[in-house]
Each structure stands twice: as structure tokens, then as C-alpha cells.
Symmetry: C2
Subunit: 582 residues, 2 copies
């Protein structure tokens, strides 16, 4: 090795030891006759000292060394006069006797510091330099530890990691596939998997009963903020189970991971049906770090003179504790917030609960103090609280109030970093009607089983069918989801027919799976977690990109590689394809 | 759970316990008033018993259950009269009280037995049934354990697993890339990685100093037997190291893996230079389970009347111990063996070492007993041995004799299953001249560093330049290879120029890497192991396909999925490409 210690491990106990370190120059400063270099590697920073009185030539060499140069330094560990208590190696320094420049560096395009002066675009183009920064490094190391802990836990409870293929067949239900032209079978194409869904089901049919895989998945979707065309899933499947068994099993995983990587003990994870989540929080992934549950107010507020409410399908409110002192300006800002096009509400009604059961509201014209008191009682609001009310079509108003609730949570600092509230949301609807294409889509995917007692409804009212489908939500973000699967051919065929497949299309695309169901398929179900997102949530980060070593930008480009890129005509010819854009 | 025990865990200690098992019907047989079902799951087989006297109806149901049906059985554990000592559960059986058919099965297209009656093609089409067979299951589970052990070892010595992207840029040096059309950037293409080579180097430049990844790689090559278009690599890289550090580090990994998954203690792994391996074994991946080293015989056998030898560049022989008794027929067969077109030798000379220093040879006309005695001495051959000699151009004859040596090893049962002889082959040449395209190719890849002392030769005699490149060979199969890398821009540019790149081409394809070298690149090197092949070698299997859950055939097809396949015109249009074969 070119070194015998790292820059993160020497301490007072190594005094007088002869050591060789390698690393990058973080800082180089001259102080009188002394030159100090902060040498950095993956493990920390160690101070190197050069004394011009003792070795003028060496000191001169040291002076000329710039930021990010790679050097090797041999010397003796000494105790520092000015100790730096902020870093583990802050009590020592190296009196350097020998110095080798292993490689020079141009001046980096941005500072390699916790707070860099480089913008996002520049840092992505030079991602290899961005990766040197502590905050990014911490994330990459965190991800490694998380993956190790997941694997060891899954192994400890009998799950086998089994690799599934990446060059598969395109099955254009759901998101768009990336496709790969076949050279050996011209005119034919592979697709990259959106998930190993069918393979893990086949593995259940093969009897592997507990499968997992940390695996890359691909979706050729128009990228919203914080979506990547390739992402990593913790993909799991089990046989001979019901919904409750899966929730139990993976509650174990969640607890293990939190304990191991965050040293946090997670309590039993609460469960809530989809219907309940929509009713109480207006969305299927509520942030339960704070309550502020919805109160439905049709009975309380309809049948007065206020026609907006009288015409609304749903009147629904939340209570912002202790916000009675909100100024007119603040209240107006909340109204503006819900009226923004992204939210699109018509307006916002507020009721201020003042001292001694008196109320002030934006609808005083229509409701007397008696009405408002009844309202406050219904909402469990006390004096000092602020009630915020919206109305409209059920689905829309829930979504709008959900946004307002999250905004209030933010304003009241109720969405605290470092607090983690996992939640199982269960019993999702099987299907979703799309008004545009006038057809049903699978809410989860076409392999999700209806609840057995709802199977008859498939014929009469498919929209009312629920599934044993579940999501794991933490702090308002979905980090995993799964379902109990269909495991017989007839039901799967029925499902495809509801989704608008002809029997031929279904057979052509998913025949391998439906055939497999005929050879002894066990009842099975599973779940998949987004690893990138799990990392982000556990580290209180907004962006999954922070946890991906080489991410792509929102146009699906890797600006460091400059990919995608044109390829040679020879390559296209060999594949028997022609680009219409050349 | 639909079960509270598996079919592999009940024993005499569970007698009288009430249990519920689930699994597949391996066998169903009627014996008098009794019906016996062998129930199979991932963990084993348990015998179920139905007694028609006790419950005629249940027994009748049981009788009708066919092979591979999935059932749930509840009952009491009882001691067997006829114990089966061959299986762990052979001392007990379940007296079934309740039976549920979870799913039926068609009659499987081949038997689900250790020795199946299904041919290769049929088993691949129904791979999900093939995967139920014990030998395949054992392999898949073995692979899981191997991967776990590799990961935990690498983690324990400070390596970080870091995921690298799959959608990258095509760099058509080396094998052919699979390419992926970009929809969002039409006319441009991603490529799937042949290995994460450049990314792991960038990670070294980023300071991650110990990286590994178990990662899928892709090569669009015409498939020889036992090659797959997608395969899995244990990919590793380290900074601040020299060749010896890498060999030491990964010797540790090899020892750990052998100990953990095979319970075999591996001695220090011997090292041999490429030159030595070629000279002593005629190939760069010798099977060192047996000696039978080459003896070069120019000095001993030239300058007699035998013009074949006199005109040969190299005369070289091996000694087959104890084979003096080979019959004329056997000797002829050996001659036929080396004359086969795959080997292409002109002939084979043999010398039989008889009793009391007498010799019989196929070249008695040209060599007297004195000559042959000298030959035997040179070869260390004793009476009872057989000397086999070939001659010709050095490279060719070494290759031919290498094949003969392996054949003799096989005939003499010297290539024993269960014996493992790892070997480091080092100091590979940097470049290989290709007579067809009249250019040099990188022997390892373009990022391999020449030995520092050979750098001047790059100008004058590139073919003579050696590299700090190394392979790990076990029993004649290369299972890993790596090198110390180039880490400065000028040398990398020089390397590309020797490989026939214009400076513009080099910059266009690998500019990101050469730029990165300018910002403080540490000395680094690494290695990659073939996981599929490592599994195969450790399990004495010929085929990597046996260790891949869903492999492709030699035309790159997945016959189970029927992939690759045609895709819709809509998909092609969206990508802006046209297939010339539609």
C-alpha cells in the first residue's frame, strides 16, 4: 500500500509513530516559517506540517502544492499546540519528512466544501468532484450501510436474493418501457424491466417462497422533479401468505433498518385503510407526524344562506391549533396559497376561535355565533385555534385541503426532521377509471388480486372492488407498496379483459405467466420499496438524486458522460434500425 | 401464514403436535386403505397420510390429487413405522385431518425430479418448473449464499458497494454494446454497460478508495456455449495500491468464500507470470490441479534427421506418468485427438519409457536409444511413463499441446471435482496485435497501465510492453481479472493513440475520464470476478446457465418469455426509430 494509515484514524495514542498518509489537499496555508496542509481522504482530515527551518526545500515544495492535488506524506505523528476539537484527528499533526506528489490537479471548477460555491449543473457535470464533498459522501456511505442491513435482515429471515433478467420482453401496460434492439434477432426488441414483478411471481410458482432482490428498474417516463429513468428497488415476494403476514414481515424489516442505520426504535406501525386516509387526510400518503385530521362538516354547515357550501358535495375543515392570532395578511396568504393554479381552490373559509366562545369568521354574514360554536365543538377546536374550511367536489376538495394541511404543518413546524412516522395504508381500490381514455387502469398493477369477497363485483361494479394492496408511507412519502397477487389463470384473464386487453393480446404479452399459473401456483404476495427514496426519507432529504452516485438530470441526461449520445451508423446498421432523426 | 411449519423441519421431537403444512405434491400413492402424499416445498419433503377407515371422504379427496398440485394439510405429527433415513423428516408423517386444495396443476411437461425426463429446450421453456428441481434449487441457493458472503467480507474490510448507472454512453472499443434509443433525446442512444470500468475509476478519483459492486453487465456478442448476453460481475477497485496489494486483498476474499460456502481452507495462492504460464502450460489459464508441465526440447531433439522437428520453431513435450502401457489404439486416438480441426496439429510423437532404460517411439527411425534416454532425462520421465511431443510455431504448438495436456489430465482422472487450485497469473502483455485489422488491441482494456519501466517501449515496441495485469484462475478457468490503471491524461491519450483512436475520437468517447484525471486522480487498480462462473467452478459445473434463474439460450433468446419480440409501431414511432426488418 502507498499508505499505512488513513487521514481519519490517527490520535494522541499514535504520537511519535512513523506514518505514511495519502490523500487530497484540502487546504494549504503558510504561517511564518511553517506550511500547513490539510490532507483529506474518505476517512477524515489530518494536518501535515512543514518547517522551513528544519527542511527549507521540502517546505518550498509543500508551499507549491495546490488544492486537490494528490500527495503521499511520510512523517512522525506529533501532538498539536492548537488542538482542533471539532475533528477526531484534531489533537495531532504529522511532521512531514518526505513528500511525493502522486498527481496534480487543475483548480477545481467549484469548491470541495460542505457548502460548495458550485451550482447544480456544474456539480453534475463534474460529479466526480461533487462526490468528494462530505454531504454527498455521507449519503453514498449511508446507502451502502442501508443496503447491507436490508440484505442481512432478509437473509436472516430466510429470504433468498435471486437475480432476474434485465433483457426481457416489452409489456406496454403501465409506464413506458425502455427498449433494446436485438442484433441477433433483427426486427425484435428486448425491454428493460420496470420491475421484476412477473419474475418474482414465477419464482413463487417455482417454490422459492421467500425472494428478495435489490435491483435496478427502468421507466421511460417524462421526468418530474425527483424521478430518475433508472432507480433501485428492494423487491420482495412471499408464498402462502395473506396481507397481514406481509405487513408483519416487513414491519420487521423497517424496524431493523431504523434501529441499525438511525438507532431509532420504531413502534408498531399503525394501519389505516385507503378510505380512511382519504377521509382524514385527503390523500393516500398522509404525513402523520402531526394530526390536524379532516373534519367533514356537511351536517354542520349546510342549509344556511351560504350557497357555496350548500352546493358543495363536501365541506371539510382542519383545525390549526393556536393560530387564532394569524393576521389578516397571513390569512389572505393562506387563501392565495389554495387559489394557486397548482391547487386550484375557489377560496378558503376561516373561523377564528377567540376567548370565551366567541368567533370571528370570513362567513359571519351566513353563520351566527351559535352556528360557529357548534362548528368549533364538532371540530374539537378550542379558543386560540383557527379553523380552515374548504368545499367542493369530494375528490378535489380533499386534495386541496391536503395541500393546505401540509402547508400549515410546515408553518407550524410540525413536520420535523428526525421524526419518523411510518404508516401502512391498506385496502386500496383495485381499479381507477380514466376519464380521458374511458377505461379502467390497475391502481397498483394488473397482477393485484381483488379481495376475494369483492370478486363478484368485477362483473357489476369494477370501480367498487378493493384489493389487498398496501403502501408503506413515512412522513407523507410512499416508500413502498405491494399486494396479494392473482394466482389463477381465469381471474388473471378476467382482470386483463377489464383492462381492455383482447384475449389474444393478454396471451401474447402475459401468456408465460398465465400458463405458469396452471402448473401449481401458490397463493402469494409481495412488496417493493424504493431504495433511493428510502435513503432520502431516512436522511430527511428532499431529493433522491443526493443518494445516487451518478444521477441523470430531468431530461434523462447524464451531463458528465454526455449521454445519451449519437452512435455510429455501423452500430445502427448492425442492429437493423434507422434513426429518423439523423 | 397459511402454514406454521415447512416440509423440511418436522422430526421426532414434534410428535403429537398439530401442524399446518403447504406445498406441492411430489408423489401420491395408494396402499391398501391408506393414501400417502409426499408434500414438497423449498425446505424438504414430508409424508402425509390419509386413512380411509378413519375418514373415507378425506381419503377419497386425497386420492384425486395429482402431481404438482398445491395443497394445505392440517394434522398431527406421528412417528412412522417405515422410517426413511435418507431424508431429515423421514422419521415422521402427518396424520391429516383437513385438506385444502390451494391450486391444481396440469400434468407437468417433464418430471420434477433430480433426473428429469425433460430435454434442455423444454426445461428452458418451462424454466419455472425446472427451478423446482433440487439440483437447480441448490444452485440458486448456493449463489445467494456466495453473494451474501462476498458482500459481508467486502464490507468488513471497508469496501463500499456503490451502484453505477445502467443507461450510459456507447464506447465501442472492445465488445459490442447493447444500445437503448432515447425517446426524450431523439436520435441519441444510451448503451448498457459492458462493465462499470469507467465509473469505478471515477469513484477512485472521487476518493471512495475501496469500491465494490455485484452488478449486471451486458455484451452483445455472438454467443459461444456458456456465454450469456447479460452476466454478473463482482466488480472491485482500490486506490493507493500496487499490484501486490490487490492480489493480497482478493486472496483474502477467495479464502473467505471457500471457507464459508465450501468449508475448504485455501492455502496461499501461488503466482505465475503470463510468460511462465505460456511456457509451462501453453495457456494463460492453466489447470494446476495436476503438474504435467511442458518441457521445451529444441536443444534435445533438433539437428537429427527428423525434418519436422528441424523446421519447427518449438518442440515441446509432456510426460504422462504411468502411461507406457497405452495400447497402439490409444496412442492412435491421441494422434487423432490433436489432428481434429479444432486443434489442428499435424501429428504427435510419442516415446514409451520401457523397463531398464529402453525406449520405443514413433520416431525410432531418427533417434537412437541414447537420444531417447537423453530426452527422458530432460523430461524427468521414468520407466513406465509416456512422453508426448509436438512441434511447430511456438504459439500454435503451445495451444495444441495445452489441449492434449488437458485431455491427458481427463483420461488420467487428474482433474478431480472437489479439488480447487487457484492461481494468480500476472504480468500480462499490455497489447495484442491483430493480423486481420492490422492494429493493436488492449489485452485487458484501454485503461490498463503499462509497467512503469516499460513506458518507454510504448514508442519503440508496443508489443513488448507488459502490464500490471492479473487473472485469477481456478482449475483452468479464468474467474477474475484486473489491472493497475492509467491515472494521468497524457498516458491515457498515448494509449488511445496506440489503439488507433484519433485525439478527437478519444476525447469524444472518453473525454469525461481524461478530464477527471486532471483533477487529482489517485493511483488505483482493481479486479472483477465473474459471479456466474465463480458459482459454476465452486460447484464443479460446466455451465454458468445452471446458476442463473432465467438464462438465455445461445441465440440470446428467453424461450420462456419469448423475448426478444416484435414491438408495436407506436413504440418505435415514439422513439423515432424504424426497424429495417418490419
Amino acid at each position: 500500500m502507498l499508505r499505512n494509515f488513513t487521514c481519519g484514524e490517527l490520535s494522541i495514542s499514535n504520537i511519535n509513530q512513523q506514518v505514511t498518509l495519502c490523500g487530497w489537499v484540502q487546504k494549504n496555508r503558510k504561517l511564518g516559517g511553517m506550511t500547513f496542509i490539510d490532507l483529506r481522504d474518505r476517512y477524515g482530515i489530518t494536518q501535515l506540517v512543514f518547517n522551513s527551518e528544519q527542511n527549507a526545500e521540502l517546505c518550498k515544495t509543500a508551499e507549491q502544492i495546490g488544492r486537490e492535488w494528490v500527495i503521499q506524506a511520510k512523517g512522525i505523528v506529533a501532538e498539536r499546540y492548537n488542538k482542533n476539537k471539532n475533528i477526531p484527528t484534531g489533537e495531532i499533526e504529522i511532521l512531514v519528512a518526505e513528500l511525493t506528489v502522486l498527481n496534480r490537479s487543475e483548480i477545481p471548477p467549484f469548491t470541495i466544501e460542505d457548502e460548495s460555491d458550485g451550482g447544480d449543473e456544474l456539480r453534475m457535470k463534474y460529479r466526480y468532484l461533487d462526490l468528494r464533498r462530505n454531504p454527498v459522501k455521507k449519503n453514498i456511505i449511508f446507502r451502502h450501510h442501508l443496503a447491507i442491513e436490508v440484505r442481512n435482515y432478509m437473509n436472516s429471515i430466510g429470504f433468498l436474493e435471486i437475480e432476474t433478467p434485465f433483457l426481457i420482453k416489452s409489456t406496454p401496460e403501465g409506464a413506458r418501457d425502455f427498449i433494446v434492439p436485438s442484433r441477433m434477432n433483427q426486427g425484435e426488441f428486448y425491454a428493460l424491466p420496470q420491475s421484476p414483478q412477473n419474475f418474482k411471481q414465477l419464482l413463487m410458482i417455482s417454490g422459492y417462497d421467500r425472494y428478495f432482490q435489490i435491483v435496478r428498474c427502468f421507466r421511460d417516463e417524462d421526468l418530474r422533479a425527483d424521478r430518475q429513468p433508472e432507480f433501485t428497488q428492494i423487491d420482495c415476494e412471499m408464498s402462502f401468505v395473506e396481507q397481514d403476514d406481509i405487513l408483519q414481515t416487513f414491519e420487521g424489516l423497517v424496524k431493523h433498518v431504523f434501529k441499525k442505520v438511525k438507532n431509532i426504535e420504531i413502534e408498531a406501525i399503525p394501519r389505516m385503510t385507503f378510505e380512511e386516509a382519504m377521509r382524514l387526510y385527503g390523500c393516500d400518503k398522509p404525513d402523520t407526524r402531526f394530526d390536524m385530521q379532516f373534519v367533514e362538516l356537511n351536517d354542520t354547515l349546510k342549509h344556511r344562506e351560504f350557497s357555496v357550501f350548500n352546493h358543495a358535495e363536501l365541506i371539510v375543515g382542519i383545525v390549526a391549533k393556536g393560530c387564532a392570532n394569524y393576521s389578516r395578511k397571513q390569512l389572505d396568504a393562506l387563501t392565495e396559497f389554495v387559489k394557486r393554479p397548482q391547487i386550484g381552490a375557489g377560496g378558503l373559509v376561516y373561523v377564528v376561535c377567540q376567548q370565551e366562545d366567541t368567533y370571528k369568521s370570513s362567513v359571519d354574514k351566513f353563520y351566527n355565533q351559535e352556528d360557529l360554536k357548534r362548528l368549533a365543538t364538532k371540530c374539537n377546536a378550542e379558543s386560540g385555534d383557527l379553523i380552515l374550511i374548504m368545499s367542493g367536489d369530494t375528490d378535489k376538495v380533499r386534495k386541496q385541503l391536503c395541500e393546505l394541511r401540509l402547508e400549515m404543518g410546515k408553518q407550524l413546524d410540525l413536520r420535523k426532521a428526525g421524526v419518523y412516522k411510518p404508516l401502512w395504508v391498506t385496502d386500496f381500490p383495485l381499479l381507477e377509471w380514466d376519464d380521458e381514455t374511458l377505461r379502467y387502469y390497475a391502481k397498483h398493477h394488473p397482477f393485484t388480486s381483488p379481495k376475494p369477497e369483492h370478486i363478484p363485483l368485477l362483473e357489476t361494479n369494477p370501480g367498487a372492488v378493493n384489493a389487498n394492496a398496501y403502501d408503506l408511507v413515512i412522513n407523507g412519502t410512499e416508500i413502498g407498496g405491494g399486494s396479494i397477487r392473482i394466482y389463477n389463470k381465469e381471474l388473471q384473464q378476467k382482470m386483463f379483459s377489464i383492462l381492455g386487453f383482447t384475449p389474444e393480446e393478454a396471451q401474447q404479452q402475459f401468456g408465460f405467466l398465465m400458463n405458469a399459473f396452471q402448473y401449481g401456483s401458490p397463493p402469494h404476495g409481495g412488496i417493493a420499496f424504493g431504495l433511493d427514496r428510502m435513503c432520502a426519507i431516512l436522511c430527511d432529504s428532499e431529493s433522491i438524486r443526493d443518494f445516487i452516485a451518478f444521477p441523470k438530470n430531468n431530461s434523462g441526461r447524464d451531463t458528465m458522460l454526455d449521454a445519451p449520445a449519437k452512435i455510429s451508423k455501423t452500430q445502427l446498421d448492425e442492429l437493423g434500425i434507422k434513426s429518423l432523426n439523423y
